[in-house]
């Protein structure tokens, strides 16, 4: 079997905050196969963005390993490192900050082509930029070449970011909240464009979002991972995770989301948390970090023992209760 494209092996990342250390990402294990979509969901501060940044190599890991096609990225050098760096690209959330406001769209997309010698002549560059704009459905491309980012709408800017990421023919894309700043009515077309590209180019995508409904839609054939306070608490095929969540935290999240249907949303049964307080990363609860809030709390074991991610009912779940049921 070929190596997964990205493997996270006991990855932990700590930050120093006021002379203390916090674990933003704690012992995460995950492999992503070629052509697979994984959505990471969770509330702010759960470590999903930090995980994305470590995969792209922007942040080093504190302990553990990240493997790119079986090789530890911290040990890569020279040509191997460059191959990894080009192979894994990132699309950022804030489309107003991620494009240089003083460059035209043409310059923004042409720069990486020239820098990485993807094109040999100016004529070739021009042709390639046009092609790339067409792949992200910005047609006719000539309408956009000489525009500056501020002349484009949010959705168009995000398309430019995608086109820029594609200049170096990556095989893996980390998209961090890539559609959350885009208008509701055009989110779906952006996601559809990305799925189309994924299929056409065999890309793997790590899609980071806080919107579970969006995650289900985008990762339809892929998987969703739910993070809570730095740990991966559930990982399962997308539709299964939404329809049959195993971890109490996933269940609580799903029950809390309002639905765009007055009848459904007003009758929705909500699971009450034991406590509304969100624990600080500086003082993480012992044992399972969710235990002070967990509606399914079963006693001492939750307070003392950190649950490992285990196979259960076709998902991987980190919860003592799920293990006990087995």
């Amino acid at each position: 079997m070929p190596h997964p494209i990205i493997t996270l092996d006991h990855v932990t990342r700590t930050f120093a905050v006021k002379r203390q250390t916090i674990k933003a990402v704690d012992d995460v294990n995950l492999s992503i196969r070629e052509g697979e979509i994984i959505c990471l969901v969770g509330e702010s501060g759960c470590g999903k963005t930090t995980t994305g940044k470590m995969i792209t190599g922007v942040l080093p890991v504190s302990s553990g390993h990240i493997l790119y096609r079986g090789q530890d990225i911290s040990k890569l050098s020279g040509a191997h490192f460059k191959k990894y760096r080009l192979g894994v690209q990132m699309i950022h959330q804030d489309v107003y900050a991620s494009l240089n406001p003083t460059h035209t769209i043409y310059e923004i997309i042409a720069a990486p082509l020239r820098r990485h010698r993807r094109t040999q002549s100016e004529a070739q560059t021009q042709k390639r930029v046009r092609e790339l704009l067409q792949t992200v459905d910005m047609t006719p491309p000539d309408d956009f070449l000489d525009k500056y980012p501020h002349q484009l709408s949010g959705g168009q800017r995000q398309r430019v970011s995608v086109a820029r990421a594609l200049t170096v023919n990556p095989s893996f894309i980390v998209a961090d909240e890539a559609v959350s700043m885009v208008d509701v009515s055009i989110r779906i077309s952006l996601l559809n464009m990305m799925s189309k590209l994924k299929d056409a180019m065999g890309l793997s995508v790590l899609f980071i979002t806080h919107d579970l409904a969006l995650a289900k839609y985008f990762a339809w054939e892929g998987r969703i991972g739910v993070m809570y306070l730095g740990r991966l608490v559930e990982l399962a095929p997308a539709r299964q995770l939404i329809e049959n969540p195993q971890h109490p935290y996933t269940q609580v999240l799903l029950s809390a989301i309002p639905e765009a249907d007055p009848e459904v949303t007003r009758r929705k049964k909500q699971i009450q948390l034991r406590s509304m307080d969100i624990p600080s990363l500086l003082r993480l609860p012992s044992g399972c970090a969710f235990h002070p809030r967990c509606p399914a709390f079963i006693g001492e074991v939750c307070e003392k023992v950190v649950p490992e991610l285990m196979e259960a009912n076709g998902a991987r779940v980190a919860c003592h209760l799920v293990r006990r049921k087995e």
Binding site: D183, S185, I188, Y217, E259, A260, T265, Q270
Partner: protein
Amino acid sequence: MQPTLSVQNLSIEYKARRGRVQAIRNVSFAVNKGEALALIGESGSGKTTLGLGILQLLPGTARITDGKALYRRNGQAIDTLKLKGKTLREFRWKECAMVFQSALNALNPVLRIADQFADTSRAHGYLQGRALEERARHLLSLVRLDPDRVWKSFPHELSGGMRQRVLIALGLLLEPQLLILDEPTTALDILTQRNIMDVLKELRQKLDFSLIFISHDLALAAELTDRVATVYAGKIVEIADVEATFKEPVHPYTIGLINAVPTLKGSKEDLTSIPGSPPDLIELPTGCKFHPRCPLADVRCRGQEPELEDVQAGHQVACWNWGNARQSLERFRA
């Protein structure tokens, strides 16, 4: 019964270097006593401007070019857009309060929560001392905060959700008849959002105030409000009871918006995006402002802008083709 607020033919524009931004164009709607009305639309559709306009909180570049906003209390009606000086100050907060989008910046960072309440109360000649503290603590517990924990805290000591709830309590301090909430849960986590929604639902049951709920999130409107107005390019294009809005929408934009939002239950095939992007409010398209994105647009749509007309009692729409919009759009998707 007379509505608490009736906005009539309101138009608001902003001055910009390129020209006039027509943020609100000839908008009329009413909010009844105890009713919650949602204003739904994408960013830049003018929904926040509408809220600010009612309270005359618009920035200097904005100008109200036409219209009235009649506010009624005890049988008397006043046009809030004509208020000035002292009477305007009295209207704000005492009659109509607004809770802003950025809860993180809306509180004074150097004042304890107790002082934020005292400040507001003093400025409006409301309760003082012990009586104020009692009222404020009561409101804080209504929004599910622990008054002892919060009362002496500074804003930075509270989480985003807690600050948002303090703001809601503060908004209700002077017993306003009308509360305007502008995206009260954006930038908050799912569970915090759930908590705020529950608080709002509870408050509506316990206190009798009217609510204007500004949001881009259809699901929140579905859960909280009684009526929904869909705003597109500065105009209300459809207004109906919440059930009708979600079950029998007739404006292609409302239908498109509902179909464009992924739901937990929905299947992948149910979703369709609206083509194109929202219009430039300086150079608006001719005719119906939605026509460049509308699959049903015809010659009339391009030439003439439709006004709101009755679909049935309580349900109005501004579309030439509303009669067969749903069936035709269904065919388009098939």
